[in-house]
């Protein structure tokens, strides 16, 4: 039975990429927080046109973050598969 290695990615630069991804998603969250409070302010001020644009922008931000995470998860899955194949051979 092959010995299972540690769970985290040991490829060169993997840590930097993970940190960068975390920072980008955190920045997206900050932007969305500002967007939410500004939209609420505008809505309470009687602006009925802004919420649609803001909702689309916020959804776009979420999809951007989701894309980053999905790409990371797929890359991780590929790494695990190739590692398992390497262990077998």
């Amino acid at each position: 039975m092959p010995i299972r290695g540690p769970d985290h990615d040991l490829r060169p630069g993997a840590r930097a990429v993970a940190t960068a991804r975390l920072v980008v998603v955190a920045l997206i969250c900050s932007l969305q927080y500002w967007l939410l409070t500004s939209t609420m302010e505008a809505f309470h001020g009687g602006d009925r046109g802004l919420p649609l644009v803001a909702a689309l922008a916020s959804a776009g931000c979420f999809l951007l973050g989701l894309g980053l995470v999905v790409v990371a998860e797929r890359s991780e899955a590929r790494r695990c598969r190739s590692q398992t194949d390497g262990d077998r051979s």
Partner: protein, 174 residues
């Protein structure tokens, strides 16, 4: 120390323990932030839905009593557009009648009318943080409200001597 029921073989060979062994990884933190991001997007969508629904609400027509009962330079409070939303009706020193929603746009304290005195013009004043609003337009003129949206103005209609609140006016741009 090993945990034979869960641990893989490599931990038996390298049986070190670390306090950070169970720390939250960057990947977990990113996933959590993504969840927060989804929450924000949902919040923005809910505001849009609320905006769509409130557009369909017809503005109620609420009787405010006899206009002649309010002397120049005085004010009173009423509720508009529903019983839970306070509003302020002012007869300015010029005799003009104006009405605004009463919640300060800073932190929702009630605003009150202040007559002109010792060189200061008449205004709507929020005593919580010393904010002042222009009594003609509802725009903030000093204190925290200066940077925020104006007070929502309420449209008034005079039918003989009877005064009615008939709707919320859209804020002026600029």
């Amino acid at each position: 120390m090993t945990r034979p029921d869960r641990d893989p073989k490599w931990r038996e060979d390298f049986p070190y323990e670390s306090d950070n062994d169970e720390h939250i990884t960057r990947r977990d933190a990113t996933r959590f932030l993504l969840l927060v991001s989804g929450g924000f997007a949902l919040g923005n969508s809910l505001i849009w839905v609320r905006a769509q629904l409130s557009e369909d609400d017809p503005a109620p027509r609420v009787e405010l009593g006899a206009a002649s009962q309010l002397a120049a330079g005085t004010w009173r409070v009423f509720a508009y557009p529903d019983a839970g939303t306070p509003a302020i009706l002012v007869r300015r020193e010029t005799g003009e009648l104006v009405a605004f929603q009463q919640k300060c746009t800073h932190l929702a304290c009630p605003v009150a009318y202040q007559r002109s005195e010792s060189g200061e013009g008449e205004c709507l004043r929020c005593h919580c943080h010393n904010g002042r609003f222009d009594v003609a337009s509802g725009h903030g003129i000093s204190g925290p409200p200066r940077e925020l949206r104006p007070l929502r103005r309420i449209a008034l209609e005079l039918d003989g001597d009877r005064l009615y609140a008939v709707g919320l006016l859209r804020p002026e741009r600029g």
